[in-house]
Symmetry: C2
Subunit: 189 residues, 2 copies
DNA sequence: GTCTATAATGAGATAGAC
DNA sequence: GTCTATCTCATTATAGAC
């Protein structure tokens, strides 16, 4: 039944096309062909092409946020939460590269004019707040919160970007332990 | 006289327009207005619009590569070289944000079809090779070269991206010491 | 709500004088 | 090498039947 909801069909097609060929290289007729939904219906539901990108972005961020919240509930210690997030980033990159690509590039892809940059969207805020918690519990060196979050997750995000760009051939999950080792050492007391 | 070279004028205008509004939101007539060079002349020199982006990208990477080579010659120790590169990234971000933005986003901006991803271009290769040298001199933990490079520079690059996105308000140079502290601890023996 | 057919715009690219 | 004027065409978006 989710297969018959035109909004879902369009977003699904858009995720693939936008992330593989880019937003500007994807025309509305392309979306029509890939989704099986008509031009009129797309405009009726999303207003314009940017509306599709916007709705898709909201879905993607929402999805990511839920995954991070699950981690925050399961894992108690700060380092465990951080490691779980790195693993999550890697798993999503491997299993749903289009989703990860869209989330990371959407802001820089020159559309979605007035959406806040991804780094200030809620999943990334959560990452910062976890690291910040680590400072309160004296597990993480006292320092600027943003710098600490960048230190912990920057390496992993960099690897994700390289993997999505095809620079890294191997499955990212094989690097989890090494990456985590570096990430935690960079800020741990 | 550099002000009269049409190629330089076009690239200069393109750097600003592409990085501020994006490649696809910049038309050739926009380039004509901003550069003062005519349509015919632009097509004569660059072939097509993508040719402008390509030539600009080459200039930017070349420029970055020269800066990193200078560092490799001046600073002898591996950690000093790494720190100098982080400082370089921050200085360029502060002084020439358009240049840094273009270098980081060009590949993901959905054009420049067959250019290698930025992470495999020569400045980034040089970063990896410096870290790799650190392993030989036993200053850096033995581990995957790519992971180590991501650990050392990932945090800094993340901060650069956030600064360019307007998420960070303060001058990045004020973070150099903290960033360097984290970066080096993450891989140092 | 969904569809087909169509309009209107503005883009990339070219022609050809100078 | 540089310029102006122009062509061609794909794109976004709308109209209006069902």
């Amino acid at each position: 039944m989710s297969k018959k909801d035109p909004q879902a069909l369009v977003k699904q097609a858009a995720l693939q096309l936008f992330s593989e060929q880019g937003y500007f290289n994807t025309s509305v007729p392309d979306l029509v062909k890939a989704s099986g939904v008509s031009t009129g219906s797309i405009y009726h539901h999303f207003g314009d092409k940017e509306g599709v990108a916007r709705a898709l972005f909201d879905s993607v961020v929402e999805r990511m946020q839920v995954a991070i919240e699950e981690i925050q509930q399961k894992h108690l210690s700060v380092p465990e939460q951080c490691k779980a997030i790195i693993e999550l980033l890697f798993v999503i990159t491997e299993n749903e590269p289009d989703l990860m690509r869209y989330m990371l590039h959407a802001k820089h892809a020159e559309f979605l004019s007035d959406v806040a940059p991804i780094c200030s969207s809620s999943p990334f805020k959560k990452m910062r707040s976890i690291v910040s918690m680590g400072m309160k519990t004296k597990e993480v060196h006292e320092m600027d919160e943003t710098v600490a979050a960048a230190a912990v997750f920057g390496g992993a995000i960099r690897l994700v970007q390289m993997r999505l760009d095809g620079v890294i051939e191997k499955n990212l999950l094989s690097y989890v332990d090494e990456v985590w080792f570096c990430a935690w050492r960079s800020v741990a007391i």
